[in-house]
Symmetry: C2
Subunit: 226 residues, 2 copies
DNA sequence: CGACTGCTTGATGTTGCTCAACGTGCGTGG
DNA sequence: CCACGCACGTTGAGCAACATCAAGCAGTCG
C-alpha cells in the first residue's frame, strides 16, 4: 500500500528464457519492477489480468476468498511466474497473490508477452514447460495432501519451509498460525495444538515464529504416513 | 484389453486447432485413433509419455495410486487433451487415465507435436490456453472441495454429472460407490450412507446407478454450503 | 492503562473412518 | 449346473480426529 520503487532490471529477470536481445529491448519499454513489503497485495482476485507477474525474489502466497473463508493455495519463491494461467485462460485473476516476505516482482505487458509466444517457438515451449511443471506439482500436492491428516500436512509444511524455502532446519515462520491453517485446511487452534504436540514429542522446538527442527527423520515419517 | 480398432479421423479431431493442412497431413502419418471400452486403461502411470492423448469423445477418469490407495483426480469428457502436462514436464506419466464409458482417443507423436509448437505460434498459444484453463479449473476445484465436507462434495459431484456431463437431471452413474469415494476422498460406506440420506430427504431418487435429481436447488445449496 | 491482535489450552459436539455383518450379482472352475 | 470366490453395496456400532465454543494470556500500540 506504500510507495513502491520502480526498477529497470528486466534483462536479468528473464535472461535464459529464450528471448532474443531485440525482444528483451521491446519488453523493457513495457514492464516495471516493483518492491513489495510483507502483507502487500501483488495480484488481487477478480481484477482483469492484463499484466504477467514474474517473482524475481522473495516469498509470495497465492490465495483466494472462498465462500467467506480465506484459503491459501501455495507458497512460492522467486524466479517463477505467479498466477500465469489466469492471464491466458480468460484475462481474469482467479486468485490473489500477496507478499509474505519482501519481494521483487516484474510486471510484463500481456500483449507483448502473447506476441512473443506466437513469434518465438522456444519461448512458447518454455512457458508450456513451466505451466506443465506447475500443474503436475500441483496435482501431486493434491493427491498427497488429500490422503493426509492435519498432523501430516503440518509436518509436510514444516519440511517444505526447511528444504525448499530456507534450506535450513532453523528458520522463522513467515506466516501466522491462521495462515498455516488456511494452507493446510485446518483451524488455527488445530495448528497450535499440533505444533505444541511436536514440541512435546521433542520433534521440533518452537517459540513464536522461530522454528528449529530437531528430529527431521521423524517429521518426515509423520509427513509421509499422514 | 480387447482388440482396439484403429481409425483415420485425425483431421476432424484437431480441426479448429490452428493447424495447417500440411501439418495435419504430417500428423496423419504419426497418429492413431483407438476405441476404449469402460475399464480399459488409456494411460498407465509410471510409463514414458511419448505420445500425446486427445480424448475425441467418451468419458475418462484421471487417477493415481498413492501409498497403496487409489485416488481419482477428475473425470473428463471429450474434445480435450488428457494428462498433457506429463508430456511436457518430464516425458513421464505421473497419472493414469482409464475409460469409464466407451471412448475414442487420438494418440499423437510427441516429437511432431513439439515441432508444431516451436513452428506454429497459434498452435502453441492454443496449447497454452488449454493448459491454463485446466490449471485454473483444477485450482478452483481444489479450493472448493477442501472447504467442504463429504456431503457437500458428493452433492457437487451429482450436479457435475447432471450439468457438465449428461446435461440432464436423470442419468446413470458411470462409476461405482468406491470410485466416487476415491474422487471425493471418502470411503465407499460414507458414499453409500450419504446417497441414502439424500434419498430419504427426497433430494434425489437413486436405484443402483440410476439417479434422478428431484430437488436441484437444495442439492446446490448443500454443495455450496459444504 | 485499556483495547486489540495473535496464540494457547480445555471442554464438548460432530464428522466420518474402521470394523463387522450381511445381501446381491457375476464369473470361474469343478 | 452348482459351488465358490469376489467385487460391490448397504447398514450399524464404536472410536479417533477435528471443529467449535469458551476462556485466558502475552505482547503491542495508541
Amino acid at each position: 500500500m506504500q510507495a513502491k520503487e520502480k526498477k529497470n532490471c528486466i534483462y536479468e529477470s528473464l535472461a535464459g528464457r529464450n528471448l532474443s536481445k531485440d525482444e528483451i529491448c521491446e519488453l523493457k519499454g513495457n514492464c516495471s519492477v516493483v518492491d513489495f513489503q510483507p502483507g502487500e497485495i501483488i495480484i488481487k482476485e477478480n481484477t482483469l489480468a492484463k499484466t504477467v507477474a514474474y517473482i524475481k525474489n522473495g516469498l509470495v502466497k497465492v490465495h483466494a476468498l472462498v465462500h467467506g473463508k480465506e484459503k491459501t493455495l501455495r507458497i512460492i519463491k522467486g524466479n517463477q511466474y505467479v498466477c500465469l494461467p489466469s492471464n491466458f485462460f480468460d484475462n481474469f485473476n482467479h486468485f490473489s497473490a500477496t507478499a509474505v516476505e519482501k519481494s521483487e516482482v516484474c510486471f510484463l505487458d500481456l500483449t507483448v508477452f502473447k506476441k512473443f509466444i506466437k513469434e518465438n517457438g522456444a519461448f512458447a515451449y518454455d512457458i508450456i514447460h513451466d505451466l506443465s511443471k506447475s500443474q503436475v506439482t500441483n496435482l501431486h500436492n493434491q493427491v498427497e495432501n488429500n490422503n493426509k491428516k492435519t498432523i501430516g500436512r503440518i509436518a509436510h509444511l514444516l519440511l517444505f519451509f526447511a528444504r525448499d524455502i530456507y534450506d535450513s532446519l532453523e528458520y522463522c515462520l513467515p506466516i501466522s498460525r491462521q495462515e498455516i491453517g488456511d494452507l493446510v485446511s485446518a483451524t488455527r487452534e488445530s495448528v497450535s495444538r499440533t505444533l505444541a504436540d511436536f514440541q512435546n514429542d521433542n520433534i521440533i522446538e518452537i517459540d513464536r515464529k522461530k522454528v528449529i527442527i530437531k528430529n527431521e527423520k521423524f517429521l518426515e515419517e509423520i509427513s509421509v504416513k499422514g
